[in-house]
Amino acid sequence: MSEKPDAHSPTVRDYKKAFFELLGKQPDLCAYRVVTRGQKIALWIALAVLVAWAVWDWVSLLLVVNGFFIVYYLVLSTWKLWLIDESLASKRELVVSPEEVAALTDDECPTYTILVPLYHETETLPRLVGGLAKLDYPKDKLDVIFLLEEDDKETREAFGRIKLSAWVRGVVCPDMQPKTKPKACNLGLALARGKYLVIYDAEDRPEPDQLKKAVAAFRTTGPEVACIQAKLNYYNPRQNLLTRLFTIEYSMWFDLFLPGLDYLKQPIPLGGTSNHFVTARLREMHGWDAFNVTEDCDLGVRMAATGAQTRILDSTTWEEACSHPHWWVRQRSRWIKGYIQTYLVHCRRPVAMFKRLGFWKTFGFHMMIGGTPICLLINPFYWLMAIFWVVFRSERVATFFPFPVILFAAACLFIGNFVFLYAGVLAAYRRGYHDLVKTALLMPIYWIMMSIGAWKGFIQIITKPNYWEKTKHGLDLAPSAGPGPSAPPATPDDASGGGAA
């Protein structure tokens, strides 16, 4: 399956086996069909009941629906507040000191596979290869696999022009639907030689000692830990307002929420890249779901269901924050679509899921995986209602908010929104982006964009469920992007002061 075909070229059957192992072994957990027949029937029945209820008495229907969402919001806000508190209480993530890294000898470093899926990444390729070369890891122990796509001639040609080291190889994925990153990664997994395996995206800049930190962390944790997720953040936070807000959101996710989930031993929605796996454990899980557009999130849930633990590592991979609203909305719509996919897939058999995850993890699953898209989809209605009421003082709006519903709604509006806004402030501060703290006050603008992306993703789950909305990388390199990329900060303190304006 390598770029230069060997004597035993794989057949289409071999590829399919590698790509779609989960579909073959555990079809119930695969997003090949987003909604099963049983779910379709349940959804149609629910819709019919709602329509009938609306015809009978639409006011009471909206009242009940409203009450349900208000309570859900309150529980979700409280839950996230708890996560924030836990992560602020102390360093909940795995911390590996420089001394521990230095103490790791070459012999103690096992073979490490790095998967780099590439699709239309000609601009970022040279930077990527340079970045990988800087990794502080014995090169003879590296097994870097560039996953190329058959229909992406430009990237393959660019890849061909690069002088490759012995520890780098390229693999071409045949042009086959679905065109998703996890499908390519599954091929990489089939070919991986490393004891551990990590994925980096084309624009990623991992901290040079991240692999060693991961090895050291795996050595100190028990066998229950199957995955270690490094933190993700952006190297271009100050490019424009969008990247500022995006950076704050990412800091909130990786520096506040995920460490909190880690501490509470909850299912952790993995972060797309920089997730370090025990390769054997990943194979036991049958790799990624090739049909899920947030395969990382899905894998996190599946691992939690089997008792495999994910921990957060205190090491950062610097990525490119999408700086253009058009591309940002595409990326966000894919994420939300993937969350909905994951939610639907794991809710196919609620009782079985409950048995697998137990009460608290099931609760956490509904909060984090279900809550994220649900809130983003519902938020615009509440914002509009609030504005409508303030402007027109409409009694009609008041009909749906009798006491004590209005009290809970007010709590959601005034406390819930504050929690999320203040979380952005705390996240920026904690990450060392002190100059972004005041920008966090503009997060409500960002929430509107998130809801736009969510609705696009929601519509796509119906129209194009497995379509992968590719994120365009290298926008920070574009002439209009300002003075160019800032160097990834070495420490949070550097981050606060440095960077291009």
């Binding site: 508190d85 602020l88 209480a89 303030v390 009798p402 006491f403 004590p404 209005i406 009290l407 005034f414 504050f418 203040y422 402030v425 705390l426 920026a428 501060y429 904690r430 002190h434 100059d435 703290v437 005041k438 006050l441 303190d493 606060s496 002061g497």
Partner: protein, 459 residues
């Protein structure tokens, strides 16, 4: 935190303290209830009932800040509790137990022995202003928790600069502002401490960010108060009317609120804690003992001082009863009205008016029979509304005497000056069709007869 009590010990401590305080609250409630607890309970009940009075009562006055009322919300519909005033006292029992648990945990981290801790906490909680606030359902108890927690987080943050302490300091400050508006001054002082603490940092953005993290919650809660007034009352500064009226009418500023002593308490506890913690780290055995004794004496004197000053200052009225004087006088008002004007329609207003409403069902249940609407409570005495609601019935207003710093708050939020000149001149020039005649003074209350004036039809 190596000496911190275990989670189980903290829970047991909390449970025991709570049980003792709840027993005390239940005992005291059989004797009396305070005006504040009754008023806040009624506001909470009106709020749950969707009444305008509830919304206005929640946000409509700086004196009656919203947070303590909100804490009573879950209890005012409960049987046996209702609007009797017990709700606030029970909330206070929980809050006080939490405060003591926090102090116990805090002191334990400094290595203070359990015996000394319990003795100090006992003295503290038994202090008249402290226990009095719990039993009478005063919002002071909530304020004390926030002040002590604020002191705790401030000390931690100054020592470690950790984000969690700073965030909690900000949140606690934000909550304190909507518990007692005077805390805004304290927030300003703490802000200065924050500024001084980070002043040495070379990074300007760090200094600004630190200040923002602290200030955002109090600014937010303060802004919410304005916003709430704008949304509900149509005037963002509505809740400041009492203060504005006080300024306009040049009220006497020589009076002090007796509860100012409460504000000293966290400072006292802070000094004690610092003394105890410093001596653990540095001093010799004998010096440690000596400093412990000094701290103990400071606390005892500080706590005992109110026994000899505040308690005695109120003469024959027991200290705990101070918060319930108004309620007892409400009984006297009711008794008088029942005797002298059994057919009258009586309007009461403001927060203190709730006490009359509450007691009407308890003190004189048989005398005011009829259709049960003898007493009408309006948060603000809107005379146009009263005129619309009444016809030829004799009309009386029960109004607290204007006295004290909050004299205009309790009387009439819409027109705080209305009853200052009650001697009878018509109020045409102010757009009212009533004259008021003083009927009787009962304790701190005045019974005013409202006399309708015949006005030209053009009006």
């Amino acid at each position: 935190m190596t000496n911190a009590p275990s989670r189980t010990e903290q829970l047991v401590f909390f449970g025991v303290v709570l049980a003792i305080l709840v027993a005390g609250v239940a005992w005291f409630h059989r004797l009396a209830a305070s005006e504040e607890s009754i008023a806040r309970s009624h506001v909470a009940a009106d709020l749950l009932a969707g009444k305008m009075e509830g919304r206005q009562g929640l946000i409509g006055s700086v004196r009656w800040a919203p947070l303590p009322t909100m804490l009573a919300l879950p209890l005012v519909k409960a049987p046996w509790i209702g609007t009797s005033g017990l709700a606030l006292a029970l909330v206070n029992a929980v809050v006080a137990a939490f405060t003591l648990t926090l102090l116990n945990t805090w002191w334990a981290t400094f290595g203070i022995s359990r015996l000394v801790r319990y003795a100090l906490l006992g003295f503290y909680q038994a202090s008249p202003p402290i226990i009095g606030a719990v039993l009478t359902g005063s919002s002071s108890t909530v304020l004390l928790l926030l002040l002590i927690a604020g002191a705790y987080f401030l000390v931690r943050w100054v020592d470690t600069l950790d984000l969690r302490s700073l965030a909690y300091l900000g949140v606690v400050s934000g909550l304190a502002v909507i518990t007692r508006f005077e805390v805004a001054a304290l927030v300003f002082l703490v802000m200065l401490v924050v500024v001084v603490r980070v002043a040495r940092s070379k990074e300007k953005s760090f200094r600004a960010a630190t200040l923002l993290v602290f200030l955002i919650p109090p600014l937010y809660t303060g802004a919410l108060w304005f916003l709430g007034n704008w949304l509900i009352m149509g005037d963002p500064a509505f809740f400041l009317r009492g203060l504005i009226a006080r300024g306009v009418l040049r009220s006497e500023f020589t009076e002090f609120d007796w509860e100012w002593a409460l504000y000293l308490m966290p400072a006292l506890l802070l000094v004690t804690t610092w003394t105890l913690s410093a001596e653990r780290a540095r001093l010799e055995h004998i010096a440690r003992r000596a400093s412990t004794v000094v701290a103990f004496v400071v606390l005892v004197v500080g706590v005992a001082w109110p026994y000899f000053t505040l308690w005695r200052a109120h003469g024959e009225e027991p200290y705990f009863g101070r918060g319930v004087v108004e309620v007892r006088q409400a009984d006297d008002v009711l008794h008088y009205l029942a005797q002298a004007h059994p057919d009258a329609k009586v309007f009461v207003s403001g927060y203190s008016g709730y006490a009359v409403i509450e007691r009407a069902g308890v003190a004189e249940p048989d005398i005011f029979r009829k259709d049960g609407d003898t007493f009408v409570h309006l948060m603000s005495l809107d005379l146009a509304e009263i005129e619309r609601r009444t016809h030829d019935q004799p009309l009386y207003f029960a109004v607290p005497k204007p006295k004290g710093l909050h004299r205009w708050e309790d009387i009439n939020l819409e027109a705080p000056w209305l009853f200052d000149g009650y001697t009878g001149p018509p109020l045409d020039d102010r757009g009212y069709r009533f004259s008021f005649l003083l009927d009787r003074t009962v304790g701190d209350w005045r019974i005013l007869q409202a006399v309708r004036r015949k006005v030209p039809s053009a009006k």
